[in-house]
Symmetry: C2
Subunit: 149 residues, 2 copies
DNA sequence: CTTAATTCCAAGTATATTACTAGACATTAT
DNA sequence: ATAATGTCTAGTAATATACTTGGAATTAAG
């Protein structure tokens, strides 16, 4: 039941981007350096995020990425689902195209997996990038800048 | 964020065992046949469940397994955590021995992972084998026996 | 116009994990 | 004595993860 690095790095990188959102285009290189992540690997994650309409890119020198929507409209859930796929704990309760077994109509354990799926989605869909930026600013006051993400 | 087959098969097999709990010792062979699982693989899962004190075994011919506690005292959470380890979505918020990074004291994303962990635990700890057996009996009335798990 | 900085794209790869299988041994009811 | 079980350890094929590599396309700045 672990998230992969895609989800973890993705949220971290998106929070970094949100924190610097007012500064124009942000390069992956700068995000990778600040967050100590592989730039090449981040490229793949941001390709996915771009296709999901969560970030916008500008190519060329001085190019980079910006949020495609304002931070209060980007949820952790949308980031995680873009990068990880459905957060359902088993295939058969995936929201979109569940691959149902022949017993799915009256499966007892399925009820457990659905409840887990729904609670997880509730949590991640209730937290926006704005919430995280606010938390970040509370923890990182200007006089003791420590940059925790 | 997927469960492995350990967790899925484990809950399935434990529900099967709970359903047949009144019939004495249940062999892995019979569980494997009814649930269409590998008997050898189930052995490994039940070795773990036995060490966790969730099932008891009787060796020799006509031996098998029984629940170590009554069904209302065995939660899905205890089964899943025995087989999968912590259900936390990332290592750093594992309940017992979290491997903390140097930033953990004031990490923003950590708050997300803790909330997911807590909601998942709430769900699985609130569902007992008795609940599942009840559900099962409702879905599988005697006159239309279909044995869905 | 050239260069450097960037995104974009497609493959390749080492490592780890998963989901088993295989086989030998120990125990016990019949 | 035998057959039916659980117990234990090791091996293994397939898959997924977490990247790396290399090159092409784009564009701001000098």
């Amino acid at each position: 039941m672990k998230l992969s690095t895609k989800g973890r790095y993705g949220v971290k990188a998106m929070l970094d981007l949100a924190i610097h959102n007012s500064e124009g285009h942000i390069s992956l290189k700068s995000i990778a350096e600040r967050q100590d992540l592989s730039e090449n690997y981040l490229e793949q994650l941001f390709a996915t995020l771009r296709k999901a309409g969560i970030v916008k890119s500008i190519r060329g020198a001085q190019g980079g990425y910006t949020l495609a929507q304002s931070p209060e409209n980007i949820t952790v859930g949308s980031i995680l689902r873009a990068l990880e796929g459905s957060l359902a704990p088993v295939e058969c309760v995936t929201e979109s195209e569940p691959t149902q077994c022949e017993r799915s109509g009256a499966c007892v354990t399925k009820l457990i997996w659905e409840r887990i799926r729904d609670r997880v989605n509730e949590v991640v869909d209730s937290i926006t990038l704005e919430d995280l930026v606010d938390q970040y600013r509370k923890l990182n006051t200007k006089d003791e800048f420590i940059y925790y993400i």
